[in-house]
């Protein structure tokens, strides 16, 4: 039987303290009833013999000490799951907000999940074609990966994310695919962008959306991504679907975590964030992946906005330590009018090596990728030099690299919002850009690939150098 208490002794920020309790468990779900009959939910954060600290998801406004009733529900926070959830929109606590019918659950699942045994994991190595050249060629996404987008305020991360959701596919296979979308504290406009975009492209039919807007309770954001991931796990590992999870904006999630931590008077780590921020984020991000003997997979694209575009801020920093790479958006490219403004040099996909090459993408992929990175880095360096010393101070070689890097941004990085380039095309554009450099500068590409893939016209341009090399070889 569920007991009802009216022994709240303290209300402090998002926390309430309940006294004289019996048989309360850590992490237990709590329901309180305000004097006007409104019901809110919370969770036990700490429990000792006679008192419990409870974190309220929907805030503590309007709670009074004497008339509020507290019920401990004897279970942890669970959500009902079912395949009927596809195509539906929920609020941050999992209540439908699209005027559709109630979900009839096939199952109820603990939103905290359980840690995945590392021995049970299957290594992600299926190439996902997103149709975006700078991701497919240089920072390849694979199935089961967690690859965040590091963005800043005002940058088009929403467009990039929805383009990925729209275009992502695995080559040569038709499999059931779905999107789970969790919004935490984003604006109505941004949420609306995703909803309209998903509706426009029909993606909504295969999507489950959880929306917590900027004016919704902040603490609720702590459970929104957990609900989304529990749903994703259900779809992936019980219903054999390939699920893409988009979480936006993780920065708001972390701030909610900081708010609770501050209210509990915990010793803060860097910038006031709690010391367990890493562990907390890891329990979310690590829920992505593949499992041996299961068909489905969870691929995760969390979005976070870097305060002041600062990558060393604890949120992007700790995220980068957990996720398998990052896609970084650059304000500088955005201002130049380049879409998607992906700064390829600091971006990284750690799992790309197993997902590319012969039979996955194309044999020359790895070589081309390394060459593009190295050459673009050199071009950027030369450009920096030119800004200090003037263009005239550059060597002939450096000038070629400067030209290359401009061209690279213009034809390779830049592409349309609805432009879906297949991998052949993306690699082709990469070669087209590389053709601007002298052949003997392409040190990271094997000769056989140069012969096979380098556009013919440019070989003629560099005839002289080619001949020189040949002559010298002949001599031997």
């Amino acid at each position: 039987m569920i007991k009802e208490y009216s022994t709240i002794t303290e209300v402090n920020g998002p926390l309430i303290i309940v006294n004289k309790i019996v048989n309360v468990k850590y992490d237990e779900l709590v329901e309180i009833e305000l004097s006007d009959g409104e019901k809110r939910r919370g969770q036990v954060l700490e429990v000792s013999e006679d008192k419990a600290i409870v974190q309220m998801f929907e805030g503590t406004t309007g709670i009074d000490i004497s008339n509020t009733k507290v019920r401990f529900l004897g279970r942890v926070l669970e959500i009902p799951v079912s395949t009927d959830m596809l195509g539906r929109i929920f609020d941050g606590s999992g209540r439908p907000i699209d005027k559709g019918p109630k979900i009839i659950p096939e199952k109820r699942l603990d939103i905290n999940g359980s840690p995945l045994n590392p021995y049970a994991r299957d290594y992600p190595n299926d190439f996902i074609q997103t149709g975006i050249s700078s991701i497919d060629v240089l920072n390849t996404l694979v199935r089961g990966q967690k690859l965040p987008i590091f963005s800043g305020s005002g940058l088009p991360h929403a467009k990039v994310a929805s383009q990925i959701a729209r275009q992502a596919k695995v080559l040569g296979k038709e499999e059931s695919f779905s999107v789970v979308f969790a919004a935490m504290g984003i604006t109505f406009e941004e949420a609306n962008f995703f909803i309209t975009d998903f509706r426009r492209t029909g993606a909504i039919e295969k999507s489950v959306m959880y929306i917590n807007l900027a004016n919704d309770p902040a603490i609720e954001r702590l459970i929104t991504p957990k609900m989304a991931l529990t749903t994703a796990e259900y779809l992936a590992f019980e219903k054999d679907m390939h699920v893409l999870v988009i979480l936006t904006d993780m920065t708001n999630y972390c701030e909610a975590l900081r708010e609770v931590s501050a209210a509990r008077k915990e010793i803060p780590g860097r910038r006031g964030y709690p010391g367990y921020l890493y562990t907390d984020l890891a329990t979310l991000y690590e829920r992505a992946g593949r499992i041996k003997d299961k068909k489905g997979s969870i691929t995760m694209v969390p979005i976070l906005s870097m305060p002041e575009d600062d990558k060393t801020h604890p949120i992007p920093d700790l995220t980068g330590y957990i996720t398998e790479g990052q896609i970084i958006l650059a304000r500088e490219l955005h201002l130049k009018g380049i879409y998607p403004p992906i700064n390829v040099l600091p971006s990284l996909s750690r799992l790309k090596d197993k997902g590319i090459g012969k039979e996955k993408t194309r044999e020359d992929h790895s070589n081309v990728m390394n060459q593009l990175f190295a050459s673009y880095a050199r071009g950027k360096e030369s450009k920096e030099l030119a800004t200090i010393l003037g263009e005239a101070a550059l060597s002939e070689e450096d000038k070629k690299y400067v030209k290359f890097s401009d061209k690279f941004e213009e034809i390779f990085v830049q592409q349309g919002e609805d432009e879906n380039r297949d991998i052949e095309k993306s690699l082709g554009i990469g070669w087209e850009a590389l053709a601007m450099l002298p052949v003997n500068e392409l040190k990271r590409i094997k000769d056989e690939y140069i012969k096979k893939y380098l556009p013919k016209s440019s070989k003629n341009d560099d005839n002289n150098e080619d001949n020189d090399n040949k002559n010298e070889e002949d001599k031997e």
Partner: protein
């Protein structure tokens, strides 16, 4: 076993406080609630004990029982450790997967060592012989390359009453030993050891041999010794994990203990899939045959993460005691330190820097001090080593943070990873100007005798060229490349060659992934030889930099990293070509002048 039962009074995340535990000792293992969650006592206050629980505590509340075991947190040692994958408190993850499915549920129990498997034990001692702690009683072939030496348990000394050859389970008695007082002790292959206590040895000695890793920047420039300590701090994306993996793949230790401490699950999967496939260049057998894995990934309980490094180092010490050279990799020690911080915070201890506990430095130092080259506890002369390599993940890449600073104070080798190098895809992204190794002097005899008399000079020459490069680059940045003399431009070209053709190494290329010491020397020698000859040609004959750069042998130097290990004669040919081509330049020039 006598059991003392207490009662939970408070639960806060992984920290539980229990009352009524009279006689409990610090660091004793307890089982919390009916679910029997494993925990460890970390603070005692009269009859109240603070317990860190190694599993998720959700659903636990005051009033539930706590059972004591009167034993400190221990690991089981014996045949069967190699090729295993354990969590932070030595539960076998492969068995848990088979029994419980993909997700780790709470309170799962599984035997650390297989108790039903039989091993062939061959005694090397006979009845009536005198033995003391650490002496080998006999051997078990654990894997195709590891011979597991069963030792007399630590603290036991006496005469062998009986010893049996045959097929035994780890819990079977294989020998009986009579100590001085006449008491007879049964000896099993399975032995237990508390993880927080260092296993004893006779004496520690300074290292005298390098741990060869096949990674050029490490072996040639910043060598780590067998029995040494090294740390790899670097911001995310700078390639810490790839370096750690490369070391555990290729280093010439006989046993590898790899601790994945609070890191990504997929990285452990990578190791699990790759190691059985890869062949160890030293033994010719799959790498997994010499590896023990400890995986407490970031989503697994934080308290077990704290224990994982102790579990790992205790297993390493056990193999060291058998006379093996062991290498232990911990990826990442920062996550271990964070676990300590989290527990410390829950205990409401007064924090030191950045919320880390004040004893952080002591804990880090005493962990690294369990490494070293030692004389083993045994009646015959027996040397063995443990090398410890720890990754550090400084937040924001800021090296002034407490974990990095405390680690640098302890370790002898520092490999500084730079994200700038990683962006240029220069891997391993180890900074050649900031890194250091304090073992170079101790190891100089080895290099002289085993590699080449000229090895040390070649290394010094290359380091000074790299140093000079950084100064010249400063000048170029201020006044442009035209201000440099020909010799200075040559230095820049050579430095670039050292960086791109020698230091840069592709972990994913079949040949480039491992380079023997001999080949490393030959490669570097080519670059330095070219530099010397070119310098001479410039000063004496006024040859231009462009002429030198266009020599076809340049291209051969670039490709020299792809010369297979069984074809090292090729280097002599390239060497001759360098001399010939530069000579032909100068003689042409002389011809024209005349």
């Amino acid at each position: 076993m006598q059991q003392n039962t207490g009662k939970i009074v408070k639960v806060s995340g992984p920290v539980v406080i229990a009352g009524g535990l009279k006689g409990a000792k610090m660091y004793d293992v307890v089982k919390v609630s009916e679910g029997k969650l494993i925990g460890e006592i970390i603070e005692l206050n009269e009859d109240r004990a603070t317990i860190q629980v190694y599993e998720e505590t959700s659903g636990i509340g005051p009033g539930e029982p706590v059972y004591t075991t009167d034993l400190p947190l221990s690991v089981e040692l014996g045949p069967g450790l190699i090729k295993s994958i354990y969590d932070g408190i030595q539960r076998p993850l492969d068995i848990i997967f088979k029994n419980e499915g993909a997700f780790i549920t709470r309170g799962v129990e599984a035997e650390s060592l297989n108790k039903t498997k039989k091993w062939d034990f061959k005694p090397s001692k006979k009845k009536g012989e005198e033995v003391s702690s650490g002496d080998w009683l006999g051997i078990v072939q654990e894997t195709s390359i590891v011979e597991h030496r069963i030792m007399v348990p630590i603290g036991l000394q006496g005469t062998i009453e009986s010893i049996n050859e045959g097929s035994f389970k780890v819990t079977d008695t294989i020998a009986k030993i009579k100590d001085k007082s006449g008491k007879i002790h049964d000896v099993q292959m399975l032995q237990k050891w508390p993880v927080r206590k260092m296993r004893p040895y006779q004496e520690k000695m300074p290292p005298n041999e390098p741990l060869i890793t096949g990674q050029r920047v490490i072996d040639t420039l910043f060598t780590i010794a067998k029995g040494g300590t090294a740390c790899i701090p670097g911001p995310f994306g700078s390639g810490k994990t790839v370096v750690q993996h490369q070391l555990s793949k290729w280093c010439n230790a006989e046993i590898i203990v790899f601790i994945g401490c609070g890191e990504r699950g997929n990285e452990m999967t990578d190791v699990l899939l790759e190691f059985p496939e890869l062949i160890d260049p030293n033994s010719g057998k799959p790498l997994m045959e010499r590896t023990v894995l400890i995986a407490n990934t970031s989503n697994m309980p934080v308290a077990a993460r704290e224990a994982s490094v102790y579990t790992g180092i205790t297993i390493a010490e056990y193999y060291r005691d058998m006379g093996y050279n062991v290498a232990l990799m911990a990826d990442s020690t920062s996550r271990w330190a964070e676990a300590m911080r989290e527990i410390s915070g829950r205990l409401e201890e007064m924090p030191g820097e950045e919320g880390y506990p004040a004893y952080l430095g002591t804990k880090i130092a005493s962990f690294y001090e369990r490494s070293g080259r030692v004389k083993c506890l045994s009646s015959k002369e027996q040397e063995a080593t443990i090398s410890v390599i720890g990754a550090v993940s400084p937040p924001g890449g800021d090296l002034s943070e407490p974990v990095t600073q405390n680690t640098l104070r302890t370790v002898q080798v520092y490999w500084s990873l730079q994200d700038k190098l990683a962006y240029k895809r220069h891997f391993p992204a180890i900074d050649w100007l900031k890194s250091y190794s304090l073992y170079l002097d101790q190891l100089s005899n080895f290099f002289k005798d085993e590699i080449n008399k000229d090895f040390i000079n070649t290394r010094i020459a290359s380091m000074s060229i790299l140093q000079e490069e950084s100064e010249l680059e400063e000048t170029v940045r201020l006044v442009g490349i035209d201000a440099l003399s020909k010799i200075e431009r040559l230095t820049l070209d050579t430095a670039r060659s050292i960086r791109e053709d020698f230091l840069h190494q592709n972990a994913f290329d079949e040949i480039d992934t491992y380079t023997s010491m001999k080949k490393q020397y030959l490669m570097l020698k080519l670059i330095i030889l070219f530099h010397k000859k070119a310098k001479k040609a410039i000063t004496e004959e006024d040859i231009s930099n462009e002429q030198l750069n266009q020599l076809s042998v340049r291209n051969k130097i670039i490709r020299s990293k792809f010369i297979p290990e069984d074809n090292l004669d090729e280097f002599q040919k390239i060497k001759n070509e360098i001399e010939k081509e530069i000579e032909s330049l100068t003689s042409n020039k002389v011809g024209k002048d005349e």
